[in-house]
């Protein structure tokens, strides 16, 4: 053993301090901003100006704040669902595909009732959105519980299939007959659009639903039997088996829940900001929500905060593109960096570093003791 290692010891913590659990996400955000500063400098931009437009400017207007909730809503909805699965070690990473299928299912309802002006349209669309996403997540759930196929790969592959399916529809049967051959559906009727909560903004009813879902998710995880079973299965699979919890049932539960919420998020996009079916519905919300779930410490209320932070990275990316000419791709780099730093800072949560003075004369018995 090298003398340096003898001095700096890494020990697993017996108890994880709560304060660290909440402070490390902030540390990760701070480090991301710091690297962003260096990155902008290296790319030849004025870093202060770029960071201002990325992180501050969007928050200086009411419209900016409303957009934070518009973009945060899908992230929160999906993140809450994914977090439940991640707690049970069910890795649904195909939320982007479930989002797409939810949008397709809900959109089909909107187009089927086109011109009817019925109050039932929007609730039906909501149900269809949830059903579409959940049904699509049922495929990996079935393959995992029946055959033991890894849900990571199947749910991800299905994302590509979903995008192609949507594209088939909007280039083919659902193409707007009056749309000058653009690949998009008719715009939905007024009865199929989410009401706007704040005039002059795009803040729609779905943002409230997302916040409500987070609260329900918190209750579900903290106070119900199934929430308890999910946590036990994730932390101690052997104990879960011994207690007679059905792992298959929990896998189904996690995938249907996260798929349904992703589908609802997709429906909110097409019935909210977009207003019709188009080839691309989300700028990767389904993938970003994975980061949101971790940044929020897999806790529904933490996910509300982290969802808003990640929403800022989208809005800031757009603002910085317009004002400073930063490429849009910076958003993806920031999101990846943030998750890196978060995972790295977790080390500080689970382990602690201890400096120990080197023994002056390392005698064999003393060393054995130190090694223990």
């Amino acid at each position: 053993m090298s003398p340096r290692l003898a001095a700096l010891r890494i020990e697993a913590r017996r108890e994880i301090p709560r304060s660290l659990l909440y402070v490390t996400p902030l540390l990760a955000v701070a480090l991301t901003v710091l690297v962003g500063f260096a990155l902008f400098l290296a790319m030849g931009y004025d870093p202060f100006r770029a960071l201002y437009f990325f992180f501050v400017a969007p928050l200086t207007s009411l419209y900016g704040w409303s957009e934070l909730f518009v973009k945060g809503a899908p992230l929160i909805l999906i993140g809450v669902g994914l977090a439940v699965g991640f707690r049970a070690n069910v890795w649904n990473i195909g939320a982007e595909g479930q989002l797409t299928m939810g949008a397709v299912a809900g959109g089909l309802v909107a187009l089927a009732f086109w011109g009817e002006e019925s109050a039932a349209t929007l609730p039906l669309m909501g149900l269809a959105g949830i059903a579409g996403g959940a049904a699509y997540a049922a495929i990996p759930a079935f393959l995992k519980t029946r055959f033991g196929v890894n849900e990571i790969l199947t749910s991800l592959m299905l994302t590509y299939v979903a995008t192609l399916f949507l594209s088939t529809l909007v280039y083919g049967p659902l193409k707007d007959p009056m749309g000058f051959n653009f690949p998009r559906s008719r715009s939905f009727g007024d009865d199929a659009l989410l009401p706007i909560l704040l005039s002059g903004t795009r803040m729609h009813l779905g943002t409230l639903v997302a916040l409500a879902v987070a609260v329900v998710g918190w209750v579900l995880m903290s106070f119900t039997i199934i929430g308890f079973q999910v946590r036990v299965l994730g932390q101690a699979p052997a104990a879960a088996r011994y207690a007679g919890f059905s792992a298959k049932r929990i896998v189904w539960f996690c995938l249907l829940l996260s798929g349904g919420l992703a589908g609802l998020a997709g429906l909110f996009e097409v019935a909210g900001p977009i207003g019709r079916l188009v080839p691309t519905i989300s700028p990767g919300y389904g993938f970003t929500a994975i980061i949101v779930a971790f940044l929020g410490r897999l806790h529904p209320l933490g996910i509300v905060l982290s969802g808003l932070v990640m929403a800022l990275s989208y809005i800031g990316g757009e603002t910085a593109q317009v004002e400073v000419g930063l490429p849009q791709a910076v958003t993806g780099v920031f999101q990846g960096l943030l998750l890196f730093f978060l995972l790295a800072s977790d080390f500080l949560v689970r382990y602690r570093l201890r400096w120990r003075p080197l023994p002056a004369e390392p005698q064999p018995p003393a060393r054995t003791q130190a090694a223990e």
Partner: protein, 309 residues
Amino acid sequence: MSLEVIAPVLLTVISAATPLLFAALGELVVEKSGVLNLGVEGMMIVGAVGAFATTASTGSSALGIVVGAGAGMALAFVFGVLTLTLAANQVATGLALTIFGLGLSSLVGAGFVGIPVAPLPKLAIPGLSDLPLVGPLIFGHDLLVYLSIAAVVAVAWFLKASRPGMILRAVGESDVSAHSIGYDVIAVRYRAVLFGGAMAGLGGAFLSLSYTPLWTEGMTAGRGWIALALVVFASWRPWRLLAGAYLFGGVTIAQLYTQGAGGLGIPSQVMSMLPYLATILVLTIIAAGPWKGRLNAPACLGKPFRPST
């Protein structure tokens, strides 16, 4: 169909299979050491953009290939620091690698969209390459195609017959035992992860320098994920991986040709779903078949390890 028609089809199958083969072979070694790196897609696309940007700027495709492999390796190093040194969750870190790699590649590649580069030169052997049929099929490829096949041979030998290969397998099967008899588990895994990164980078370099000598955003289009599935399909055996990669190359090309032939009335998007659906189908068959008890997955796959002393 006559041989003259089949030969060019087979040629395209080989080039569609090569990026998958590189990336999957790298991941196979990584997984054999007990590490699951889900960031193959990210390492691949960073390799693609690194290789392309270097070749377009310097005119040297050799330098491009080296930079592509190096870029994949650099990303793999980040993965190693997080999962091996800091014992972070491998699934989450792999996903972060992919998200970061996709973002970084479109940032770097923004200035290179639409710029053409000369495709990798085909190695021509006078006489042999001019043979009918076998000439172009066996002797008419670029360097990377031969390198990918040589790598299969090398990896197969390394894992089966070499001493470091056996240590690597031991580390993947039982990290605690390997550690207790004195092997440095973390160091072995670092080497495997870096190798995996370099191979994914090479796969990306082949995509942007040879398969379609152009840079387009997101050009890996899920190939990194298909490579991960191929490792399972091959049940962690290099030779079976070679067969799997060529099978998938065949599926890719079959759907392209069907699209080209008017698609039999099927929308082109539906044909494009084929490789992804085939992946799911293959994973299911592998998991459900009568051989499922002998899947051969390394016992420590995906489990973090920290030496206790």
